[in-house]
Point group: C2
Chain length 200, copies 2
């Protein structure tokens, strides 16, 4: 299993955003939509062993987690508008602490980063966090099988979030010499993990 968490600092928590303006009205929802694509799509196939957790922290009701489960996901196409549409549908549900399924493979509930990190700690799996100038992914790939990967959006991860994540003893890794978009980072991690499976 691979879990990708993306923190959407301005991602709106109401279904009233426009699919014609995901960056503006959606609070950079386009960033999260591209992460859905890079995490889940293979050529003419879907990664069934991947889960994506979108943490929506924008107005009007910050603190919502939308989870895409590769194993049971339906109705997702590769374009941004398609994942945007499934997120919008999930936000139309009655959202509480108890998760509900809005469409096959898409779940929504109230929640925050700490709650997610606690749940992940309970699994005993390795947690990874990206930072420039850290240990290169190619030197730590052997630890990454079954990994949990925590990302910021276009604003990165703020100081409080970094402090929180650091409390869970993550491996801190780097993907190369340049600073990249989160969806590009996910593509690189998926490729490294694909290579790992074959090398086994």
């Amino acid at each position: 299993m691979r879990d990708f968490v993306i923190i959407g600092h301005r991602a709106v928590t109401s279904p009233d955003f426009s699919l014609n303006d995901l960056p503006g009205s959606g609070g950079r929802m386009d960033v999260l939509c591209r992460c859905i694509n890079s995490a889940l799509f293979l050529s003419h196939d879907m990664r069934r062993d991947v889960r994506v957790h979108l943490l929506l922290l924008g107005d009007p009701d910050p603190g919502i987690i939308v989870r895409f489960e590769g194993s049971s996901l339906k109705y997702l196409n590769p374009d941004e508008r398609s994942s945007g549409s499934l997120i919008k549908k999930s936000l139309q549900k009655n959202i509480s602490d108890i998760q509900v399924q809005s469409t096959p493979g898409v779940w929504i509930r109230k929640g925050n980063l700490e709650m997610l990190m606690e749940e992940f700690r309970d699994t005993g799996r390795n947690i990874f966090y990206l930072k420039e100038d850290e240990i290169d992914i190619r030197a730590s790939a052997h630890l990454m099988d079954d990994g949990i990967f925590i990302f910021g959006d276009d604003m990165g991860v703020n100081e409080d979030e970094e402090k929180l994540i650091s409390g869970y003893e993550p491996y801190v890794i780097s993907l190369g010499p340049l600073s990249l978009h989160t969806d590009h980072c996910i593509t690189l991690i998926n490729n490294e993990l694909d290579r790992l499976v074959v090398d086994k």
Copy 2:
């Protein structure tokens, strides 16, 4: 310099497609838009040493090349709709064999794959073509600096195109054990090239 060519087999050659339906009305224009993103974007920056050549082969006027020049590109945002909008604007020009600039860094002209390949051959640079189960990118990275990379869209490269490309003695490389979307392939190649520059 890095050049990425993407063959859009159904990509429409009229500006009459809807930005609200890039996959349908645009003839899978969404695939090309995602390639623009993965080829050109860095975190809060743009890759100025990258050129993307979109070969549009859909109706009504198949055989148009739209070129995005990282060095002079303006008005491009990371979302699919943004690159779709620049492509749409370029298709509104009077298109002939002589290239015209539609917006800063976006050029359009009539053309086909053979014409592009001839132009690339004249540069003397290495040409790369992707295929599964070939030599791994990590073993051929040293040849890729200043490379030209030819891709199909979601339909891949057809037999005639493969035959044509093969006539230009390309290096045939592979990116890993699984078959990936073209934009994900471009992200992996960019990362490999980024690492190469640093290792120099």
